[in-house]
């Protein structure tokens, strides 16, 4: 049976500091995914990941257990993302990594869409998705990322962001509308 987050926290607080590595292994992927989708750059996402776990470790005693550990961790990661965005003035469109998951560079071809291989079309679409997502205001982007990719419930997102559920739904709706407008423009251009 898997040991729970709370049990690992108890062990860590009891002095078994290495136990915290279990939490890192368990949550590094979601935190990296959230950071990458919020910031658009692998390097920034890695840094945020590191910062998040370090901050969580240092402040573990302050974690009261009112909400889930993962919610607390997401909150720390989002704060780190926002702080990074503020530092660089939220310049995202120019800084999105132009690479896919396998590290291949996107090439924005001028070819006729009918002649484009499926893979290339899909890559271009993925790139447009990144651009459209990063063109959203951060408060909408984070809600879409948490709902769409992290598959959190409205209540969990509301808890992480300390906002009402209705605000979460409203931001999600507006974000999806803006994404729709941008992506439909791209489809028309094709």
């Amino acid at each position: 049976m898997d040991i729970s987050d709370d049990q690992i926290i108890e062990r860590t607080l009891a002095g078994e500091t290495d136990a915290f590595s279990l939490l890192v292994r368990r949550w590094e992927r979601p935190i990296y995914g959230l950071s990458l989708r919020m910031l658009g750059r692998d390097e920034d996402a890695r840094d945020v990941c590191q910062e998040t776990f370090l901050a969580a470790f240092r402040n573990l005693r302050k974690f009261r257990g009112d909400s889930k550990f993962s919610s607390w961790l997401y909150r720390i990661a989002l704060n780190a993302c926002h702080s990074r965005m503020r530092k660089r003035g939220n310049v995202v469109e120019q800084s999105i990594d132009l690479e896919d998951d396998e590290g291949r560079k996107f090439e924005l071809a001028d070819d006729d869409a009918e002649l484009m291989p499926d893979r290339m079309q899909r890559d271009q679409l993925a790139f447009q998705v990144r651009k459209a997502l990063h063109a959203l205001p951060p408060e909408m982007r984070q809600v879409i990322v948490m709902k769409e990719y992290e598959e959190l419930t409205f209540a969990e997102i509301a808890d992480i962001l300390a906002i009402p559920v209705s605000t979460v739904k409203s931001r999600l709706y507006t974000g999806l509308q803006q994404m729709r407008a941008r992506l439909e423009k791209f489809r028309t251009a094709l």
């Binding site: 590094e28 992927r29 990458l36 709706y173 439909e184």
Partner: protein, 216 residues
Amino acid sequence: MNNTNRNQLGCDRKEDLVAYLYGEASASERASFERHLNECDDCGVELKAFGRVRDDLSTWQVGFAPRTEFVPPKAKMDLLRELIGMFPVWARGLAMAGAAAAIVLMALSVYGNRTDGLGSAGLSEQQVQAMVSKAVSDERAKIQQQYQTELASFKTQLAAEHQAQLQLANAEHQAKLEAVKVGLRAEIRKANQQNGSLRSFFAVEEDRSYPWGDSR
């Protein structure tokens, strides 16, 4: 399900639409929204369009996550303990004595300020000085004692090591001496043998030179 948020087309059920889209509506909410969809084409169109956006969003998958190198940072007290541990006992004692004296002086200075002079606290300046001197001399005595103990321990250790080295050197010396003796004995034996051979040789030669048996 009552809300006043209207979508771009004037429908007020955008939050219901989102809950329905992500499957978070309750059974009754779902039924209610499905009834609404039969009447509202705009919501139907928007629902389909949002479904396409979700499909598009799913094209961005993070294939891997780099491993996060995490080394738990050491607590400040642990670092302090390590730092203190690097110094010898006498230095630690000296530092402690200094700190104790500083604390006493600081406390007295604060006390002095608060009582507007030492006299009113019932302690004369001489008494205070005597207390400080006593505290310092006690600490000094403690340090000296620790130092003496440490020194005695070093001496014992050194003597034992010296003795062991002497025994080792003596044994080596004896072994070498024995080897030389054995070599010398062998040499003497060899020389004696050669000497005997020479004698017998010359004895034969004499016999040949003087066959009549007279050696001279």
